[in-house]
Assembly symmetry: C2
Homo-oligomer: 212 residues x 2
């Protein structure tokens, strides 16, 4: 299916270019050059750059869902281990060049939140959906380790995403992932402190894998 193929090449080009230079600087000409396709092909698939960016957001979220859905931390029986394993996994994937490990949504919303409401909404929805997945494990860990805590799993899940987004900003400023890894080490320590009470006995399930 050459049509489907060229659409995917535009989506991949948009994810890479926007993560590298932001939404506004990624012109349609640049996107065509990055995809190795013509402007005619672009307008065959997309009405506008915003239309492509919205599709690229779904594309990026789908890839992230697949990556996190298969990640090893879901196999932990103990909810606290799943929470800490999530942070360890986020640290493990801080690899390669900055555009490869930073977040399309955080990059895009930073500059478009006021001028492109549809992009703001898409970034909010995708960041929120990922936070919701984290919140499910945090909710279980809270019930198990800190049932009287004044914090909610939802606010803590959003905090994990804020730390990640801010860690990416600092990684961009410093030119590498080291500072982001340090920030995630602090996030891990905070979660360890919040969930430091002994948990209730776990059921005898050893291969309990949660879906995304």
């Amino acid at each position: 299916m050459p049509a489907a193929d060229s659409r995917t090449r535009f989506l991949d080009a948009a994810v890479h270019l926007i993560r590298t230079c932001g939404y506004e600087a990624a012109t349609i000409d640049e996107l065509c050059r990055e995809a190795g396709l013509t402007k005619g092909s672009f307008f065959h698939h997309f009405r506008s750059k915003e239309d492509l960016a919205l599709a690229a957001a779904d594309h990026f979220a789908g890839a992230a869902d697949a990556l996190f859905g298969q990640a090893p931390y879901h196999a932990h029986v103990d909810s606290r281990d799943r929470v800490l394993g999530y942070v360890d996994f986020r640290r493990a994937i801080l690899r390669g060049a900055v555009p490869e490990f930073t977040c399309l949504f955080g990059t895009m919303v930073q500059e478009t939140y006021d001028t492109h409401p549809a992009l703001r909404e898409a970034c909010d929805r995708h960041i929120g959906a990922h936070a919701d997945a984290v919140a499910r494990d945090l909710d279980a860990a809270r019930a198990d380790r800190a049932p009287d805590a004044e914090w909610t799993a939802q606010s803590l899940a959003l905090f994990t995403q804020a730390v990640l987004q801010g860690a990416f900003v600092l990684a961009k400023a410093r030119g590498g992932p080291e500072v982001a890894d340090q920030c995630l080490a602090h996030l891990r320590r905070y979660l360890e402190l919040l969930l430091s009470s002994p948990g209730s006995p776990q059921p005898g399930v050893t291969d309990h894998v949660h879906g995304q």
Copy 2:
């Protein structure tokens, strides 16, 4: 001094416009319109948009230094109170529209880190200088409350800045400051937990005010 005045109008226009729509979308035409000045005046003061953005970064950092230098938390005798007071002050200034409380450096570096090395360097330097100021109080609090801690004041100071930058990203995605305030409440709780040991007796100084 009309010349100095028009330069400041460009600096203020750049801070406002870049915080609203990002660096790339803030064209020289838009910057002139925002400042109410001509393109001739622009090029009298600045060689290029990047030249203006670098001057605007210094201008923004100067305003931030003045704001934080006069903030009430410096008056606390206890270093832990200064650290927590810093977070409380950051929460207190999460007011108004999103462009008014978010960070020029985080916004600008997000999209320019790869394409504009001079802007990346300026953002890194200014974020780092603010983190260094926070680190001085954290260093004192660590010595007083957690001398054997495995974390360093410098890494914790950078973590506070990551939380702030990420909180701004989420505030942009959500369209308001509430989520940022929730994130800073988590940051405060983390600092409280790290610095929870009783401090050594304070010297009898009650009006000890640290400069910025």
